[in-house]
């Protein structure tokens, strides 16, 4: 092989490589948690609260215990000595932590909360037994409206907090009063995003296996964060981490819902220990829609001051978030509403900003992370208001965005809340989408269509997000875990195989593939040669998992550093064996070559020489070398990713039906590792965002009952409702960045709700309709069209004016 041939070797990073995960998943040989089968395994079903707020008086399990096939029935007191309640602590001012018990003890706080666990031979029998268990409750007043819960003092979800307002934060920069005083126009609106279920297709599930001999626990869980689970269980069960192993095998989607620690995981861990059997709990869909962490449910009051040219002078945001019954572990209840105010200014220059967020506990399941966290809501509100500002200033939607966005020469830009945007293609993404859409010719079509009684609308949404957060930017200040670092360990084993222990927990992102691409390029091996262990708390000292658009950045960074380190070590050993200088050596296809000669050693030969062939190396030399590299990566801050979305819709005002006819995304996530995977993430994220915008809503009645607990009532988009998404990538380079990768898994869902809302509003402009509530369902469209005016909020809420004033 000549040097020029080496230069022609394929680069894996940037190539649309087919996924390593696919063959097993396509043939039914993936192994999801529900697929784990162990000898003597028993199945768990939970008796769950059928009321939203009540004191538990008495539990009668006599009849159920006698049922054939029942191994045991356990309540809170039976497992209390084995596992303590969770607590998501935080140093943030104005925060009240809540204790999350493994099983409800003194009272229940939402419908579906686990109260009693039945362990039986199979799920059928477990459900039979559940029928025979009688729980007596004393009902307490139910709080389902956060505005009411906020001022309520007699009824508290958590007595020890002394209030239902469990988080209150505010921040900002600049003189907003002055901005609003001098404004040429002020626009305002109240925006409401409904309650939402992340709805991964695989329901939550876990299997606990206590090995008496080793006094150790193995937990398989459908989780995004086996490392967080391991650390939490170790603390709550008073065991050293080494005696708890948490495995996230193949996981059927997460979208944020599987990155928190759940009551059932704690209970199953205890049940495995107490019953001495492997125990499996697989949530059914009703349980999943009733108990898995939910998202959004924010009410945003937003007002914006602009000058006569449409330049934003000031912005004020007030957010009320319904965070449900518990402050979720480890993210805390501040996660969603505080993120809404943190990212409200978006990719725009906002000189003066004040944001205030309140998180109110109610008798609903806990609020947790969902794809985009807060930013789908902030983008919806901000982008709706920007469109109103455009009307006030006489600008086009694309014109007002371009006028206010941070320009290429203004990076790094510090937002009013202190977030720093690194160089990212804000304007480039906008321009790219505008070119693809051609809004001017659309507006002609729109006029022609209206003449035929057809209502077309075009909507834009631009956003920027922080991804790949480092140790200086916590998801929630003072939370009990570190999410800012990640470790990778690479080694050449005694057979010459390249083995990577990594901390990510794949649940659809194709990280086994993209991380193998990174390692292959850095190390000089074929992708197929890279074997990755992941989704397992055991191989590394500290892991968390995959969430918050972090793995490409953090795992990619750790893999890059570890591969570079291992490469040096391989070269050092090879140089010794080949009696050459490491600088004269090249690695290609798992083989080290002495440049300019035909001397070469394969990894296998090097491994044999190093590990097994005694005498090939001098003991002193051997002692000074190894073929293993562990590196931690900390991006310190985060990387900015951004996009502009555009949606073209047709609305039938008579039926309220919306058809998404075209959809465009131009996004910048920096250097692409695998464009095929990135496109897939954008497609999926956008369709979830369309679900948020048009279809999906959890509806609770005043008793705290979930009226949408089946997939026939909670409506996620099917193939028939999904448009094709036209994706363009802008790959802005960062000069001082290890890999150039930025996170992007959440972006699709951040942009789509705002783009769809703007498009529907544009279509319904002849009716004077505003779109300020999502999802914008046929009923809400009907109401808007009938009213011929703006507001669709529920009666009883104080709607703020959406009029523009000058």
């Amino acid at each position: 092989m000549t040097e020029s041939a080496i230069d022609m070797r394929p680069t894996m990073i940037g190539a649309p490589v087919q996924r390593k995960e696919d063959p097993r998943l396509l043939t039914g040989h993936g192994q999801y948690t529900a697929d784990v089968q162990l000898p003597r395994m028993a199945h768990v079903a939970f008796v769950r609260s059928d009321r939203a707020h009540a004191r538990i008086l008495e539990i009668d399990t006599t009849e159920a215990k006698a049922l054939r096939g029942v191994h045991g029935i356990y309540g809170a007191e039976d497992i209390a000595s084995l596992v303590r309640p969770l607590c998501a602590s935080s140093r943030t001012e104005g925060y009240h932590a809540t204790l999350i018990p493994p099983l409800a003890d003194s009272k229940v706080r939402y419908v579906g909360e686990p109260v009693v666990a039945v362990v039986a031979t199979d799920r059928y029998v477990a459900e039979d037994a559940r029928d025979m268990i009688h729980v007596d409750y004393e009902d307490l007043p139910v709080l389902t409206d956060p505005a009411a819960a906020l001022v309520e003092t007699d009824t508290l979800i958590h007595d020890e907090a002394g209030t239902n307002l469990i988080v209150e934060r505010g921040f900002g920069r600049g003189d907003t009063d002055e901005a609003f005083h001098t404004a040429a126009h002020v626009v305002a609106g109240r925006y409401r995003m409904g309650r939402h279920a992340p709805m991964a297709l695989e329901t939550r599930a876990c299997v606990g296996h206590w090995e008496h001999g080793k006094q150790s626990l193995t937990m398989w869980s459908a989780t995004q964060a086996p490392g967080i689970l391991r650390d939490a269980l170790a603390e709550l069960m008073d065991l050293p981490g080494k005696r708890i192993r948490c495995i996230a095998p193949d996981v059927g989607g997460g979208f944020g819902a599987k990155v928190s620690i759940y009551q059932e995981e704690l209970a199953v861990a205890a049940l495995a220990r107490i019953t001495g059997r492997p125990v499996k709990w697989v949530s059914d869909r009703l349980e999943d829609l009733t108990t898995t962490s939910q998202s959004f449910d924010d009410i945003v009051d937003l007002e914006m001051a602009i000058d006569a040219d449409g330049v934003i002078l000031g912005l004020r945001a007030q957010v009320l978030g319904d965070v449900g019954a518990y402050s979720i572990y480890p993210w805390t209840a501040s996660l969603e509403p505080v993120q809404v105010i943190s990212f409200m200014p978006g990719p725009y220059k906002v000189a003066a900003y004040r944001g205030r967020a309140q998180a109110v506990a109610t008798n609903k399941p806990p609020m947790g992370p969902y794809r985009g966290v807060g930013r789908p809501v902030s983008t919806f509100a901000m982008e709706r208001l920007i469109d109103k500002a455009a009307v006030a200033a006489g600008l086009t939607p694309e014109g007002i965005r371009r006028r206010n966005m941070v320009r290429p020469d203004e990076f790094p830009y510090k937002t009013p809340v202190g977030i720093q945007w690194d160089r990212a293609g804000f304007i480039e993404c906008l321009d790219s989408v505008v070119e693809a859409v051609d809004p001017d010719s659309f507006r002609h079509q729109q006029v022609e269509a209206r003449a035929e009684g057809r209502y077309l609308g075009l909507g834009f949404a631009s956003y920027s997000e922080l991804t790949g957060l480092g140790s200086r930017i916590a998801a929630a200040p003072g939370m009990p875990i570190n999410t800012g670092t990640e470790t990778a360990r690479l080694r050449i084993d005694s057979t010459g195989a390249v083995v990577a222990a990594m901390a990510f927990a794949n649940h659809g992102q194709g990280l086994e593939t993209s991380m193998a691409q990174v390692i292959a390029d850095e190390l000089g091996v074929a992708m197929e040669a890279v074997m990755i262990d992941s989704g397992d708390s055991d191989p590394l000292a500290h892991t968390t998992g995959t969430y918050a658009s972090r793995s490409a950045v953090l795992a990619g960074g750790a893999a890059t550093l570890a591969a570079r380190g291992l490469r040096e070590k391989i070269l050092k050993v090879a140089a010794e064996l080949m009696e050459a200088s490491p600088t004269d050596l090249e690695i290609f296809d798992s083989t080290v070559r002495l440049v300019g000669t035909d001397k070469q050693l394969t990894f296998r030969e090097i491994a044999h020489a190093f590990y097994t062939q005694m005498g090939r190396l001098h003991p002193k030399q051997r002692a000074a070398m190894d073929l293993e590299e562990t590196r931690m990566f900390d991006p310190v801050f985060g990387t900015a990713s951004c996009a502009t979305h555009a949606a073209l819709v047709e609305v039938d005002p008579a039926t309220g039906m919306v058809e998404v006819k075209r959809y465009w995304v131009a996004e910048d996530c920096g250097r692409l590792i695998n464009p095929m995977i990135v496109d897939g993430q954008v497609h999926g994220g956008v369709i979830q965002g369309i679900g948020v915008a048009l279809h999906e809503e959890l509806i609770y009645d005043e008793d705290g009952q979930n009226l949408t607990a089946s997939l026939a009532d909670y409506l996620v988009p099917s193939a028939a409702e999904a448009p094709d998404v036209d994706v363009t990538h802008i790959e802005t380079q960062l000069p001082d960045n290890l890999t150039g990768f930025r996170g992007m898994g959440e972006g699709g869902t951040i942009g789509a709700p705002g783009a769809i809302a703007n498009a529907v509003a544009d279509a319904l402009r002849p009716f004077g309709a505003d779109v300020n509530t999502l999802p914008i369902t046929p009923q809400r469209i009907h109401d808007l069209v009938q009213a011929g005016s703006a507001q669709t909020l529920r009666p009883g809420r104080n709607n703020s004016s959406d009029d523009t004033t000058s």
Partner: protein, 164 residues
């Protein structure tokens, strides 16, 4: 079928070409029977009320929901699950098309999606992308946004119709 004192009955059927005979309670769903009795965990359970399509299998050549069929109803039937298709080292054309077009992410919906696609390719012209989307609309995928699944099936339509 013969009953037993425990209420279980003997059921026999052909699953992926193998004849099987098992004792089951009449209430056992075919999905649980395949997964628990036979260890064929490729058939996934996503909702157990017939909406998500993850458990779709072929019964006598027709796609059906294994969560809306009792194992006893499959007495004498010919059942095909995802495990009857290609293998890890030798994917069949449909599986290859899914891989090539990145038509799966987490993989949980994939077995049901494949079995539905097989039935749709046999029964429907699938002349347009919208027809493909309609044919797949009983199978929820939460990851891909469906675009690449449509592409993968489109490729198979072209292969079927001899115009690729």
């Amino acid at each position: 079928m013969t009953g037993t004192a425990s209420g279980k009955v003997v059921v026999s059927m052909t699953v992926n070409g193998d004849r099987v005979e098992e004792l089951v309670e009449p209430r056992w769903l075919l999905a649980d029977f395949l997964r628990e009795n036979l260890g064929l965990t490729g058939t996934h359970v996503g909702c157990e009320h017939g909406v998500c399509g993850a458990c779709t299998i072929l019964m006598n050549g027709n796609s059906v929901r294994a969560c809306l069929t009792f194992a006893v109803q499959a007495q004498g039937a010919d059942i095909e699950t995802v495990e009857s298709l290609g293998t890890v080292n030798d994917l069949d054309d449909l599986q290859e098309s899914f891989r090539k077009h990145h038509a799966l992410q987490c993989g949980f919906c994939t077995p049901g999606m494949l079995m539905t696609a097989i039935d749709a390719l046999r029964k429907r012209p699938l002349a347009t992308d919208q027809e493909i989307r309609d044919a797949l609309s009983g199978n929820i995928c939460r990851c891909t946004g469906y675009q690449n699944i449509v592409k993968a099936v489109r490729t198979m339509v072209q292969k079927r119709d001899g115009d690729d």
